[in-house]
Amino acid sequence: MTRRSLLDRTTGDAVARTARGYLADAESALARLANRQDTEALHDFRVAIRRVRSVLRAYARWIGRAGGKKVRRRLRTLGTATNAGRDAEVQLAWLEGERAGLARGERTGLNWLTKRLRATRSESYRAARRHVRQDFRRTRDLLAKRLGELDDAGPAFRETFAQLLRQHAADLETRLGAIRSPDDEEEAHEARIAAKRLRYLLEPVTRDEPGIRKLVARLKRLQDVLGNLHDTHVLEASLADALDEVATEKARQLRTLALAGDTIALRRARRRDERVGLATLTTKARIRRDRLFAALTHDWLSDGGTAFFRDARVQTDRIGTPSPPPVERERKYLLTGLPEIPATVTPQAIEQGWLPGDRLRERVRRIRDESGERFYRTVKLGQGLERIEIEEETTAEMFDRLWPLTEGCRIAKQRYRIANGDFTWEVDVFRDRDLIVAEVELPAGRDDAPIPEWLSRVLARDVTGDPAYLNLTLASTPGATRDGGGARGGAPRKRARRRPAPA
């Protein structure tokens, strides 16, 4: 069975499916938390929660209470519970990478900072582990309930997605434009968040959309640069705090030793100065920051981002352009009599009537066959080989309400649908006049279909586009016997001849 693309669903349906998928990801990451060796479990959990929150935030306008503040607040608490731990972890990784490049005396400062960051990380993760299970279950149950309230109505996901893609891409472009120098920490942070939101917006449709998949790949690279820049900004702040703290601590230590008259310890304390290493790390962090900013400038700020945003606009236009309404293309032939009908084909009894519109004609139709009774309303604009026709199923109640208004503009016919190769022929035998026609619907790009042999034997002529043979025209002249091109005029109706069903 073909899987339906998210873009072909309604917004409520698509958002509910996406959010449920991320909740399942969060749940499986949570199950891995028990394994202390699995250091990525908490991170994966956090990312899944952020994705849920991001999708609910983006589509909040269309999903009612599922996108409400209560749900999003709880998700936010869950997603940010490990922020301090994660920041500490990132800094620890960078510091370890720098260890080999530091002189022995400089490592004192590195060790001091490492110890502090490890304590922060442990405390943050311990606290998160303590509460996360219970908090998650409460949030999951609430959200599942709210997602269950979403009906299948609402605008097409394709439309809302395209609308949000346009907005999110424009937002990112603006935010990137605001970054002027490596010191613009706040601006870079805002751009990082905008990039993350855009990526989370795009990810659910990458499976069906290669163009979107490419955008996501480029966004990941941008996020890496902005993420590293952000981490470096945070690291610089940590180093500044550490230097302040170490300076005060060192001053206090030296004073204590001096007052105690312990000259040996005082000399040792002077040699073991953490500030030297922290100052070196500060220089290294600054170099890293400037390199990252240079990369950001090259890839995104000075025209480098132009191609990305151009491609994003192309994707937006492509996805957001509503598919043209279905255009009915068909051929209609007047028949001299009934063709042979396969024994397996059972007729449908069709009654249809038109409301008295002129520019737009609305038709109501009842179809009865072996499977029961169904009702449709159809609106049509234009005529000929191509005309706009939109149909939807309606209720018996609506049919009963509108049917009396179609009086004087109705037809009744018996329809046989006969498959022939790639085409399905519809042979209509009118019940109130001496007329039989065959119609075939054509795929786009075709304006003809091969005439099957069984049909050619009774074919009088092509009447496609002939206003006299439009159902609506026929309905306006009830009961009149039509000229069948001399072949059928006035001929008594023949009963359907049956062909044996193919073995």
């Binding site: 409301l355 008295p356 004609r361 609305e362 609106v379 604009l381 939807e392 509108l402």
Partner: protein, 168 residues
């Protein structure tokens, strides 16, 4: 006279609005309702291109809807008509219509009042003949001086079909 009867766009939840203590008169259309109505209005224009005047109930959600329709018809004139307020009998609205010189008019209002107006114009029965969905519309053909029981229903379309027609 051609009379286009339009129900207002999707508005905020009635009960939630009531809890704010504000009057139902001021309950606005939602962002979603506004976006959808813009598409619906394009559909209305596709199937009924020439409109001369829009009359609307004075309630905020109807006035906002009328403004969206007016925009789709090149900023057409909108007048507020008390007779289109919810719960009022159809006679006053019909009297107002009979006094107009325009021959292609739209009215924007509420259910079930609009359904009753349609029933009154078609069958001279003050019973709801059709139930319009929010943003849905129907077109009535009336004599130049409209009177009860003189209208023909030309079409009745839900908003979804109108939006699709707006894409043509």
């Amino acid at each position: 006279m051609d009379l286009l009867v339009i129900r207002h766009a999707i508005a905020g939840d009635r009960d939630e609005w009531a809890q704010t203590g504000k009057s139902d008169h001021d309950r606005p259309v939602t962002d979603e309702g506004r976006d959808r109505m813009r598409e619906t209005a394009r559909g209305l224009r596709a199937v009924f291109p020439k409109l001369e005047l829009i009359a609307t109930s004075p309630l905020k959600r109807a006035v906002q809807t009328a403004a969206i329709v007016a925009e789709a018809f090149d900023d057409l004139k909108v007048v507020e008509l008390e007779a289109l307020s919810p719960g009022l009998p159809p006679e006053d609205a019909v009297r107002w219509l009979a006094g107009r010189r325009e021959s292609r008019i739209a009215v924007v209002g509420h259910e079930p009042s609009l359904g009753i107006l349609v029933g009154w114009l078609m069958r001279e029965e003050a019973e709801s003949f059709v139930s319009l969905k929010k943003g849905g519309a129907c077109l009535l053909r009336l004599p130049s001086t409209p009177a009860p029981g003189t209208a023909d229903l030309k079409w009745l379309l839900p908003p979804k079909l109108l939006r699709q027609l707006g894409d043509t």
